[in-house]
Symmetry: D2
Subunit: 433 residues, 4 copies
């Protein structure tokens, strides 16, 4: 029998706290989960530094990837199965793309990507197409199968319905991470009726749509997403840890450029520092490796690197204040000057961080970030764009919300050493923000 058609002799399950069980019947899926590249996702947290704020959020991308696969499996096997708009030939392709969509994520992706100009989507493509165990499994399922899987994840695949299952404003990826992140953090937001969404999802030529009768479940999902972004993902304490993490990477890169002699040679970072990252180097990175260095670097002689690493390891984070970079740029300059006088390098100890989110958007052709809108399917077969039907969604539609915060080391500024006069001045400015 063809490998792509092989079924396990008996269905296997993974116990999953979010979906109860993840069901695997296909040999290809089972083999993909067993690859070293997929197992590596166990060593990369789903939510980066969020565990410093919500201690339960220690779950890995491995968890989430299985969850996305399971949701797509249910959509395809329970709801799309037998409908004329759905091409059953796309089943395995969809499942593989769902399982592998986050494969290229590295440790603390957000910060790493910013500092080293990496792109996890690019690495997902490389892992799928490169000399990897994942590629070997996919290739057994069909000569051009790896390429097709890669295209689905890259959103360039011709069948847009398949693409929409994992990349749209209401896809399996988002459904899983909202539910999963809510579960592990323990927050009560993030719950929506996924059973109902999966009951009303329907295949259409260009994308998956939702029966009109499920509109309120869709609204509820949009609201959950909104709450999760502002309550969890953009939590100021999480961002504080991320600011420190980013600054550690900056500092290490800068020291390396300055021929600083590390006690612990950052061999895993060399190719990062020099923009010569190979796929093999990349696959060796994970959060254990990074945290190993951070722990070792606590003992480096460079006081900034050592201080920032200790802060990260011991969760001695920066304090924050509300800050409006547009109106308050003068205050910022003033603070920079004062920080320097107080012996604190403002490049590392006075950081503005901005988070912004667009809760939902309808289709704006030609704009920077085109988004596929969510469509509701009327009984007549007509499709209606969500924000035209829902008052609540309309209210947040297309509105970008941004939050700026100014981060600084409160302990150093309130300590009794150094230039107390200057520190007093800094404090009075910070307290007035």
């Amino acid at each position: 029998m063809e490998y792509s058609k092989l079924k396990l002799s008996e269905e296997k399950v993974f116990k999953d706290p979010v979906h109860r069980y993840v069901h695997v019947r296909d040999r290809v899926i089972w083999d993909l989960i067993d690859t070293k590249e997929f197992q590596r996702l166990r060593r990369i947290r789903q939510l980066g530094t969020t565990y410093f704020t919500f201690h339960g959020a220690e779950h890995s991308r491995f968890n989430h990837s299985l969850g996305v696969y399971e949701i797509v499996r249910r959509i395809i096997d329970d709801d799309f199965h037998g409908r004329p708009e759905w091409n059953e030939d796309n089943r395995l392709l969809s499942l593989c793309a769902a399982l592998l969509h986050d494969l290229g994520h590295g440790p603390f992706s957000h910060s790493f990507e910013k500092v080293f100009h990496l792109d996890h989507e690019e690495y997902t493509q490389k892992i799928i197409m490169g000399n990897t165990e994942v590629n070997k499994v996919l290739e057994k399922a069909g000569k051009d199968f790896p390429k097709r899987v890669a295209e689905v994840i890259a959103k360039t695949y011709e069948d847009k319905l398949v693409v929409s299952l994992i990349s749209s404003q209401l896809d399996a990826d988002r459904m899983d991470y909202l539910l999963r992140d809510a579960y592990f953090t323990g927050v009560s937001y993030g719950h929506f009726d996924i059973e109902r969404l999966l009951r009303v999802i329907r295949p259409r030529e260009d994308q998956a749509v939702f029966k009109y009768s499920g509109m309120h479940a869709v609204e509820d999902y949009i609201m959950s997403r909104y709450q999760m972004y502002w309550q969890v993902y953009f939590h100021p304490v999480t961002r504080s840890a991320e600011v420190i993490l980013t600054k550690i990477l900056h500092r290490a890169k800068e020291l390396h450029a300055d021929y600083y002699s590390f006690k612990q040679h950052p061999i895993h970072f060399y190719s990062l520092f020099e923009d010569e990252m190979t796929l093999d180097d990349y696959l060796k990175l994970d959060e254990n490796i990074i945290l190993y260095y951070f722990q070792m670097w606590q003992e480096e002689e460079d006081p900034i690197l050592s201080d920032l690493c200790s802060r990260f390891m011991d969760r001695n984070l920066f304090q924050y204040a509300e800050f409006d970079p547009g109106r308050q740029f003068k205050i910022h300059s003033q603070l920079e000057k004062l920080f320097r006088e107080a012996g604190l390098d403002p490049d590392y100890y006075l950081v503005v961080d901005s988070s912004s989110d667009l809760g939902y958007d309808f289709y704006r052709p030609g704009e920077e970030e085109e988004r596929l809108p969510i469509y509701l399917l009327k009984q007549t077969g007509e499709l209606r764009e969500l924000s035209r039907e829902s008052d609540i969604v309309d209210a947040i539609s297309g509105k970008k919300r941004t939050d700026h915060k100014l981060y600084y080391p409160e302990d150093l500024i309130y300590s009794d050493s150094g230039n107390l006069e200057v520190k007093r001045e800094i404090r009075s400015i910070l307290e007035s923000l």
Copy 2:
């Protein structure tokens, strides 16, 4: 005001998926959580290798420690408060002991303790009494306060009621880990009515007891515990990962003893290998460090070390079969011989692992492992030992149950290389088990 009496200006909470919120009002507790020794518990998983079986089980001992603290806080503040048998002076002591009871755990404690003859309880004592941030905080609360906290955890403290809150057959430690491990693994066992247990718990001179009306809640707890042990903690796949982990440690120790030249020098292990562990060395160990070495050791020249490390990193675990070491010792010898012939060192590739548990026990004075029984409190004031009242508990009381499994690398034995004749013989024995 005395430091030990200081309250935070406003209660702080941690969002906890198990207890909803963990509440902190005491300055001492807040400061203890902030110490580097306590933050280190974020880097040690609660359930060791269990995440290889239940992918949700990635939670840390930090989580659990907060949970135990919260349960003791509720017992003391909601239930014991104002009762004559409870000495309010023991409040802070109990809270600190609850929070810190697992402080000495190292990475993958179970395996490390076995291979290197460590004892996490000893290290908990050392951290509390040694030159640490934790010790400094405790000392501010009272000259002999660190010592008293250490005694409670060591079960030598004179007030046995305080000891029983975190060390008995139905204590805050067990209550938290059963609920928490059930939550993160996603299994449905492990749930019991903690609200009810906390409502019926009562202080008595020597230990906490439970009102008779709560007997069924106690039974339910005992059954949950039983199920969690056999369904989760002793899961054969988890034990397979642990077998490999243990063998990696053995191998590295052996290589070090043989003056093997590591590419990646195991500096963090030196004092372990040579039984000269200092407290500082110990505190530097965490699971990131260990996994860093395992990843690096995949490229060592020693084939056993490298193979075992790859297995651990990529979750390519050993297969297992039922095995009775008593009756089947001849088979074992035979297999050992055949493994050697097949080029597989049986010391590393043929491993018997035994797990055993005693679900509940009444008091057997003088026996090796004396256990404090659970007492039910009748309305008359009389105390009755649980197993005398409950048929179900009586049924498992004092009965040690043991499970033996034989672990081996199925892939190597079923591979097409090497001495096929011998491998065929091995397979036929293994399949007959």
Copy 3:
């Protein structure tokens, strides 16, 4: 000791699926729960005819009343306790008002109030002030205590903070019913983080307010409320059952006015029909009584009464279509005419039902239905009205949403008997709506 200060020798609890336990310590509360007027609430469903749509929604107002009491108890004992803005003297008053706030509800209140011009709030007052067991208990707690409790419920009590606990846009009443109705129906809307709301609620002179840091929990509550209204409370099937129920009551009243001779004399209805309801008569009404009559009336000779009662008992409800009474009044007249020709009295068989809701409103002095807005409390002590701070709430604020449906007996219109020509015409109109 004064009766109003008496505590039970040991706290009593009710197991509650929503709040886990309802805790009672006060003698007065215990005695109130034991009164016959309070026990009567067991025989009145919380959600009227909703159980025809959501079969789990069979819970009574007794349930809900305990829940509201429990929420107020937690607010007062856990959060307000010891704050200078809170007057501890109002504790028992608040608890009693919470427990008794729905005491005057009759069977299927919504329909009964409409048909017979009753007002459950008026009856709550009468029960508290009249010759009842409830009144006797309250009077033991203080001569003017019944009056004060009645005033709190009537919103005329001078201390507006106390009033706001059970009568405002975010009060204990709404918190309980949203959570409870979500639980019993099984819908996933209706969940919000009550723990967090109870943590951030603060007493102020005129009302309870919420700490600014809890804004998202408040938003979540507002959204839950919105979803529950449109997904559960205004569900078209529930309204269909209510239309039939209302029409049964109308018919019985009309028949009585016409001196129709009932086989089953509606003795419990006499005073309703003749607007001479006494408190005693009222207290004898409950849903068992009403359903007894409906069952008996299935055998009345009046074909309309008998048909409607059978529909209600056997859940043979009316079908519905979207309808716009403003634009489609001509169609309505036309249908009325055709229904008459088909032998169907349109007064009973062609019914427009409209539901409307205002999700949240800020303060509009002088308007018909003044609503107390929800205030957020900044760290500076400043109060901010919710809709000015929250985009989402602003989006639905002050916007009344209305839904109209036209109800009719599909079975009769599609049956093969009677004037088929006319029925065909009716069908073609109904299908075009």
Copy 4:
């Protein structure tokens, strides 16, 4: 197309709090739910008088019946489907039997059956075979289809596998009621992993069995059942209400036999009193009707009837004491005598109630109540009886546990009126129990 094969144009669902959704695809099932006999189950509570103890337990048998149907549907469609041991022809039969298995239950079945020698199973048979809407629907699906459905429910159907789905020690009936009753009461017992049980259930010739790997889930189910019996179903307060209910029925029957002239003629009871119940009479009975009479009878002149009815309506229940009818029969006689002297008829006011349960039993051929044991299926195909494999189940296997209580009206015995001397004597005996 044959009626028995007809599918609804689109799957319909019922929102269910326990199973999330109940799915209906078959026309026959949809039509059965719409029958008046099935809708009648909405007016009969699942747990009789339990709502007096656990106020959430107001759910009806309608709820439970849908749940049992849903579980059998899942077993058949998800797990048995395609397995050689399962005959797909039995699908609809099994679904109908599951849905209708409780159809014959009357109001407060337990008490009514005891007093009036009714048997709800007999009525289930009559409703299915008689002149009813249910019978008409079933007959459309096949001439002998009603008979076959009736046989499955009566356990006389030849295919024992089908019978075992709803009548065995681990069947869909029990699975649903344990989960459902736990949900509505809010207790934490009663949870077991139904997902896992449904994954490991397998068809065998004579009954459904469970894969060996699911043994712990089966154990957990047995323990849940045990706890639910003792914590919920046999709760002494529930039994107190049932004692009163039973005594009301006895009294009314006795009064009728004595030609007592009721103010409210018990027309619905006549055929009960005279053992001439027709199917039509029976179908008219529901809990509304019964509670209507109880409310009216509060005003009867017979003091016993009136007192007992008020107790039931106002939840003024009997108090209880532990009692051993074997050893304490002398005390009982003595109390009877004293009760008479105190003017309290011991037939109504001094009641011994005994509850007993057999948690699990293996097969004892020839014994009174033969029970089909639960079998575990080994990978070899061998079947093993549960209690031989599981220590815990073995512990409770075959052991009947009985609880006796003595019920009496505490208020009357502690009141200050009547023969105080005698009452003092009664109290001193009762307090010594």
